[in-house]
C-alpha cells in the first residue's frame, strides 16, 4: 500500500526530474510555435488578419504543391528502397551479395544534407558522373545530356540520404521476426517476393511507418538540398521562408508558410496517432 506521503513525494520528484527539459521545450518549442502562429495571423498594423495566408497562397501555391509532391514522392521511394534493402538482407541467400549491400547502403547515414547536396551536384550535373557514365557506355550522345539539378535531383538526394535510416530500422525489425513462419512459407514453395510482401512487410509495418514519418518531417525542414540543387522555381517552402525573411524581412508570410508546413506534418502525425490508437497501444 503506497502512503499519501510517498505518493506526494513521487509526484514532486517526477515533476522535478522533468522540469529542466520542460523549461527548454517551453521556451524554445511551445513559445515559438505559439508565437509564430500568432504572427502568421497578425497584419502590419497589429490586427488579426488572414492576409499573410492569402499572400502565401497567391505567391507560393505552386511551391506548396511542389513541396508536397517532392516530399510524398520521396517518402514513397524511401519506403520501397528500405523494404527492398531490408528484404534482401533478411531473405538474400548469396552471402557475398548480402555483405556488399550491408556494407555500402549505410554510408549516407553519416553524410550531412549539405554534403549530400554537394555530392549530388557533382554527380547529377550536365557534366557530372552520371552523364559521363551514360556517354561512355554509349547510352547517350554528349549533346543529349541534361542536368538533373531540378526536382529530380531533390528527390534523388532525399531518397539517397534518408533510405539508409529507414532501412536500418526496417532491417532491424525484420531481423527480429520469428523465422519459423518465413521458413514454413519457403517450404510450401512461396517465392521470396511473396514472402516479403505478404508475411514480412505486414509484420514490420509500424516500424516502416515510424521511419517514414520521421523522414517526412526531416525532409520538410531541409533547406540546403533544394537551395543547392534546384536553383529555379518552383522550389520548396523552406527556401521561400528563408527568402521572405532575408529579402523582405517579411516574418508574417514566412510564419504563414511555416504554419502550412506544420499542417502538413500535422496531417502525417494524425495518421500515425490514429494508427497507434487502432492498434490498441501507445504510439
Amino acid at each position: 500500500m503506497i502512503s499519501t506521503a510517498t505518493r506526494n513525494r513521487e509526484r514532486l520528484l517526477g515533476l522535478l526530474l522533468v522540469s529542466p527539459a520542460l523549461l527548454t521545450v517551453g521556451l524554445l518549442f511551445v513559445y515559438p510555435l505559439g508565437f509564430s502562429l500568432v504572427t502568421a495571423f497578425t497584419g502590419e498594423e497589429g490586427l488579426w488578419t488572414t492576409a499573410n495566408f492569402f499572400k502565401a497562397f497567391e505567391f507560393y501555391s505552386n511551391d506548396i504543391l511542389f513541396t508536397v509532391v517532392i516530399v510524398v514522392l520521396s517518402t514513397i521511394l524511401i519506403g520501397l528502397g528500405a523494404i527492398a534493402i531490408g528484404g534482401y538482407l533478411t531473405l538474400g541467400e548469396h552471402p557475398v551479395a548480402v555483405a556488399i549491400l550491408k556494407w555500402l547502403y549505410r554510408w549516407p547515414l553519416f553524410i550531412p544534407f549539405i554534403v549530400a547536396g554537394q555530392l549530388m551536384r557533382t554527380f547529377l550535373a550536365k557534366n557530372g558522373l552520371m552523364n559521363n557514365i551514360f556517354v561512355s557506355t554509349g547510352l547517350l550522345d554528349p549533346l543529349q545530356t541534361t542536368s538533373f539539378l531540378d526536382w529530380r535531383g531533390i528527390v534523388i538526394t532525399f531518397v539517397w540520404k534518408q533510405t539508409p535510416f529507414v532501412a536500418l530500422l526496417v532491417a532491424g525489425a525484420m531481423a527480429s521476426l520469428d523465422r519459423s513462419m518465413i521458413e514454413a512459407a519457403r517450404n510450401l514453395g512461396a517465392r521470396r517476393f511473396r514472402i516479403l510482401a505478404e508475411i514480412i512487410v505486414p509484420q514490420v509495418q509500424p516500424t516502416i511507418v515510424i521511419g517514414l514519418i520521421l523522414s517526412f518531417v526531416v525532409m520538410m525542414s531541409v533547406l540546403s538540398v533544394p537551395m543547392m540543387i534546384n536553383a529555379q522555381t518552383p522550389t520548396m517552402l523552406t527556401v521561400d521562408m528563408a527568402f521572405r525573411i532575408n529579402a523582405y524581412g517579411d516574418y508574417g508570410v514566412a510564419n504563414a508558410l511555416g504554419f502550412i508546413s506544420y499542417l502538413m506534418t500535422g496531417v502525417v502525425a494524425w495518421v500515425y496517432l490514429r494508427q497507434g490508437v487502432r492498434a490498441g497501444g501507445a504510439p
Partner: protein
C-alpha cells in the same frame, strides 16, 4: 528461367549497393585527383592532396572544426543528462499531467526546430545569445527522440531491481546511476552517434544564428563552396566536402558494428 531469376536477384544487391555508394566514391575520386581527371577515369591518373590543402586554406576550417566539436559535445552532454532524467521520471513516477507532458515532448518529433527558426532567432536576440555557440545549442538541449529511446529502454528494466536497490538504502540518484544507466549503455551509444551525426551536420540553424568565423561550424563554412553550377571546381568542392565529413566517417568506421547492433536493439518497437 529459375537460374536467370537467381542471377537477377544476386545482381540486385550489388546494384542497390552501387547506387548508394557511387556518389560517395566519385566524390573521393575527384577530391584526390587533379581537376582535369574529374570526368576521366584512368588507372594512371596522378593522386594529389592539393585540393584538400586549397580547400583548407579557403576558410578557417581549423576554427570551424573546434566550434563544431564544442557545440556537438555540449548538445550531447545536455541531451544525455536531460533525456535520462525525463525518461526515468516517465517510467518510474506517476505525476499530474504526465501523459500530457509526454505528448507535448513527443510533438517535437513531428515539428523540427528548423521550422521555428524565426521565433527562436528572436528569442535568442532578446537573450543576447545570437552569434554564440550556446545560442546554436539552445533549441536542441532536449531531444524527443532521445527521451523516447531511453524511455523504451528503461521500461525493460525489471522493477524488482529498482526496489531491491531501494531496500538496500540507495537514493533515487543512486538507483538511476547504478541500475538504469548501466543497463541502457547500448542505447546511450546508439543515441550518441545519432546525435553527434545530426548536430555535426546541422546547417540551417547555425547559418541563421552565426555571422562570424569565431562561432561558425564546418557545415556553414562549407557553404562558401556552394556556388552555382557553372564554373564550380568539383575537385575543390569534393575535397572540402570530404574534409567536413571525415571525422564522422572515421567514427562510423570505428563504431560501425556497435552502432548498428545497438540501434537495432534500441530501435523503435
Amino acid at each position: 528461367m529459375k537460374g536467370v531469376n537467381r542471377i537477377l536477384l544476386v545482381a540486385l544487391a550489388p546494384t542497390l549497393a552501387v547506387a548508394w555508394g557511387v556518389p560517395f566514391i566519385y566524390s573521393v575520386w575527384t577530391a584526390i585527383h587533379p581537376e582535369k581527371y574529374s570526368a576521366r577515369f584512368t588507372w594512371n591518373a596522378p593522386i594529389t592532396f592539393a585540393n584538400f590543402l586549397e580547400a583548407w586554406q579557403a576558410a578557417p576550417f581549423a576554427l570551424y572544426f573546434v566550434n563544431t566539436v564544442i557545440l556537438t559535445l555540449l548538445i550531447l552532454v545536455a541531451n544525455l543528462i536531460l533525456c535520462t532524467l525525463v525518461a526515468y521520471a516517465f517510467v518510474r513516477y506517476r505525476f499530474q499531467a504526465s501523459g500530457l507532458l509526454f505528448a507535448l515532448i513527443m510533438i517535437q518529433l513531428l515539428i523540427t526546430p528548423d521550422i521555428l527558426i524565426v521565433e527562436n532567432f528572436n528569442t535568442l536576440a532578446k537573450l543576447g545569445l545570437t552569434d554564440t555557440i550556446i545560442g546554436i545549442t539552445l533549441p536542441y538541449l532536449t531531444s524527443a527522440f532521445g527521451i523516447f529511446l531511453l524511455r523504451q529502454t528503461f521500461k525493460t528494466v525489471p522493477i524488482s531491481l529498482d526496489e531491491a536497490a531501494q531496500v538496500e538504502g540507495a537514493s533515487t540518484w543512486r538507483v538511476l546511476w547504478d541500475v538504469y544507466v548501466p543497463l541502457a549503455k547500448p542505447t546511450y551509444l546508439a543515441y550518441a552517434l545519432v546525435s553527434i551525426s545530426f548536430h555535426w551536420n546541422n546547417f540551417l540553424w547555425p547559418l541563421i544564428v552565426t555571422n562570424s568565423p569565431e562561432t561558425r561550424p564546418v557545415t556553414v563554412g562549407l557553404s562558401i563552396f556552394a556556388t552555382v553550377e557553372s564554373g564550380v571546381e568539383w575537385a575543390l568542392v569534393n575535397a572540402a566536402t570530404l574534409m567536413t565529413t571525415a571525422p564522422l566517417v572515421v567514427a562510423f568506421l570505428i563504431f560501425q558494428r556497435q552502432f548498428v547492433t545497438n540501434f537495432m536493439r534500441a530501435g523503435i518497437k
